[in-house]
Amino acid sequence: MKNVEPSEHRAVSVIGLGNVFLGDDGFGPLAVETFRCQYECGPEVEVLDLGTPGLDLAPYLYGRELVVIVDAVHSDFPTRAVSVFCEDDFASSRSCLRITGHDPGLWDTLTHLRLADCGPTELIVVGAAPESCVFGDGPSAAMLNLAAEAAASIAQVLTHCGVRCNHRNAAPRPNLWWLPLNPLESLGVPEAHVNA
């Protein structure tokens, strides 16, 4: 990563990837929603939860100058810590590109876009190793605790790349709509929209 002077004319995307209903696999959406609430960026920055789009990632990487992908990452790095990877870390000899049903499609999409000369200028991955990817349980406590650290890492990456990014004084509460229902809430719905 090179240090770059701040500019408001760059096309920047911060993208959370992952299945929010599979425990820690939803780390990406959790982290970008936390970032969206805790930090303020200019209009050149898009913050997106894209779920598990596979090859449908292409439109969101197309022609962008900087893309920060936030995702659960299997790696040799320690668990309970946020790690930052450059594209070369994944494309280097220690990991080969592949197409499998388990792959989110990121590297395939990047290859397509680079061949068509419309890939992002720079791509950085902010990741953390998942503890548990169990259906319907929500993120582990460890991942919830890492969300703020991940948001700070995203901000640091953006600032380092010359993208204006400021901590909010009054952060709104993240909208983590996918977390399991409170047992009391599941007993009924607000009376306001129920006719007698």
């Binding site: 992952g18 299945n19 929010v20 209903f21 599979l22 696999d25 939860d49 894209l50 779920g51 598990t52 596979g54 090859l55 449908d56 292409a58 439109p59 197309y62 995702d71 659960a72 990452v73 299997h74 790696s75 040799d76 990877f85 870390d89 994944f90 220690r94 990991s95 080969c96 590109l97 592949r98 197409i99 499998t100 049903g101 388990h102 792959d103 989110p104 990121l106 590297w107 290859t111 397509h112 876009l113 061949l115 068509a116 419309c118 991955v125 990741g127 998942p130 990817c133 259906f135 319907g136 996918w178 599941s186 007993l187 009924g188 719905v189 607000p190 929209h193 129920v194 006719n195 007698a196």
Partner: protein
């Protein structure tokens, strides 16, 4: 006898395992297994019926929009709620944008490499390739210079020895028969398609607020505000923007995608005789034109036993025979229960046993229509429309047949569409139809707004007792239906009968296999180590299993494997 397991099948959306037994050089038995559990129904129980669509969009990582639409339609059906025309048109434009995106990605990025030998491209003569391409289409991206640039890129990849995502192809397979020039043309369009799948996403994002996971739906309509005097709402600028994007996108669909599919069909005519599979077809009507869903631009209906003359048209969403006919069977699926059960009473309680071909072997249930397996998807959509005399379907189907005959000298009959190649051709025909309808629905929306109607939603009111509803949608992969039971405004049951469940259905309680399994019977397998023919037929359905756990693997471990026993 050889047993081949392909696990997972790659270049699909999600997780699929295919097992086939090959006797000599032909498949004589097949099993399709979805290897991940889609348990969203369990999450939806107890949720507010007005927010179900937000969760339902996560049934899949790719087809998010279609589940959101089916969910709100199910609740609206339960409430007998009218939908304002503006909302119908906005939803229809979103569905068209999503479908065009899906079909373009399927043809080029998910399945083209089953037919296109990338490694032969350096041998192509770009001048000859340009002459071939320009002779069959007026598309501006077919120039010699454009094709030379693509060829140089491929040469560069090969010279560098970094094949990357192209390192797993069955290059040089005897079933790859396109000339180097044809391979160059199709691969050039493969790269150009990236630009146009993006444009179709822009249509969805402008109207839906975001994609994937559109944000504008509401039970009762959409949340788009319309005010021609406001910069912040749907206005003439926004409508003009949509018109401009569609005018860019439509030529790619009609002059490239549609043309390329004809080229492929004419080059591999034997695939009009493979992969027929289950010859019962189901399509549901879509692109509603009125508040109650009684008039549609896409026809629905049922064809049994491959007899096009037997078509029964489904003219509205209240169709009672359809509602009574649908059941799901868990005999061979990893769920508790066994025989057929109607969706309103359906259960999704897991009962995993590992892969047991004579017992339970998949997470997909077996949907049945009056006890019969059904094939769904663009082929069903086109066959139902063609058989029932739907003018737009006939126009584009005949255009495809005429083009293949005039340019390539191959005569295709409607009945031959019931095949692996027919599924590819039908997807292109449907795309051409949708591209034409896109401008019509944009005009309907514009006219309605200019006539002074700015209503986009009718607010729902929930009764205190139990109500039931079913929402259907002809999604890119076929007939989708969501079935809901609601009490006091919250879901007490939720079942989704999705297109890939129909097509990837396992055997039922009577041992009758589903469409994937049946379509593979008789398929040739020239090289058991590289079962390309099997993949072509499986990919022709555009499989989309529930997207689920996916984590980046920085160690680059290989997961896909073909086992021959």
């Amino acid at each position: 006898m050889a047993r081949i397991s392909i696990d997972p099948v790659t270049r699909i959306e999600g997780h699929l395992r295919i097992d086939v037994e090959v006797d000599g050089s032909k498949v004589n038995k097949a099993w399709a297994s979805c290897t991940m559990w889609r348990g969203l129904e369990a999450i939806l129980r107890g949720r507010d019926a007005r927010e179900g669509w937000v969760f339902a969009q996560r049934f899949c990582g790719v087809c998010t929009t279609v589940h959101g639409i089916a969910s709100v339609r199910a609740v609206e059906d339960a409430l007998a709620l009218d939908i304002p025309p503006n909302a119908q048109y906005i939803r229809n434009l979103i569905l068209i944008g999503h479908a065009l995106h899906d079909h373009i990605v399927h043809f080029y990025h998910l399945s083209a490499l089953d037919w296109v030998d990338v490694m032969s491209i350096p041998k192509a003569d770009p001048a000859r390739a340009a002459s071939i391409a320009e002779g069959s289409s007026s598309w501006q991206g077919n120039s010699r210079r454009a094709l030379e640039a693509v060829q140089d890129k491929v040469k560069g990849i090969m010279a560098g020895g970094q094949l990357g995502i192209f390192s797993h192809g069955y290059w040089g397979h005897p079933a790859m028969r396109l000339s180097p020039e044809m391979n160059l043309i199709l691969f050039a369009h493969y790269l150009q398609a990236l630009e146009f799948q993006r444009k179709s996403c822009q249509v969805v994002a402008i109207l839906g607020g975001k994609t994937p996971h559109i944000q504008n739906l509401a039970v009762g309509g959409v949340m788009n505000a319309i005010n021609l005097n406001s910069l912040a709402t749907m206005n003439m600028d926004r409508l003009g923007m949509l018109q401009g994007i569609l005018e860019d996108l439509i030529p790619f669909v009609q002059q490239v995608f549609f043309v390329d599919t004809g080229l492929l069909a004419a080059s591999y005519p034997e695939y009009f005789h493979y992969g027929r599979g289950v010859a019962n077809y189901l399509a549901v009507p879509d692109l509603p034109l009125d508040a109650r869903g009684t008039k549609f631009d896409l026809p629905g209906g049922v064809i049994m036993n491959g007899d096009l003359a037997s078509v029964r048209s489904m003219t509205n969403w209240k169709d009672e025979p359809f509602r009574k006919a649908i059941t799901e069977d868990s005999t061979h699926a990893w769920y508790q229960g066994s025989g057929p059960i109607e969706p309103y009473k359906g259960e999704t309680t897991p009962d995993y046993t590992d892969f047991k071909e004579d017992a339970k072997y998949t997470w997909v249930k077996a949907p049945r229509y009056n006890g019969s397996p059904m094939q769904v998807g663009p082929l069903a959509n086109v066959l139902v429309g063609y058989a029932s005399g739907h003018a737009l379907t006939r126009k584009w189907t005949n255009a495809a047949f005429d083009r293949i005959s005039a340019v390539h000298g191959l005569k295709v009959l409607p009945n031959e569409m019931q095949s692996t190649m027919g599924r590819y051709l039908a997807r292109a025909i449907r795309s051409a139809m949708l591209s034409e309808l896109a401008l019509e629905h944009l005009q309907l929306l514009t006219t309605n707004i200019l006539n002074g109607d700015d209503t986009t939603c009718n607010a729902p009111q929930f009764p205190s007792g139990e109500i039931m509803g079913m929402g259907m949608h002809e999604a890119p992969r076929g007939a989708l239906s969501h079935w809901v039971v609601i009490d006091k405004g919250a879901f007490t049951n939720y079942q989704a009968v999705v297109p890939t469940t129909w097509n990837a259905s396992p055997r039922d309680q009577n041992g009758v296999p589903g469409p994937y399994e049946t379509s593979l019977i008789g398929s040739p397998v020239v090289d058991a180590e590289k079962p390309l023919e099997v993949l072509r037929t499986v990919h022709s359905f555009d499989p989309c299993m529930a997207c689920s756990c996916h984590t980046l693997d920085a160690t680059g471990r290989e997961i896909a494997q073909v086992k021959v026993q």
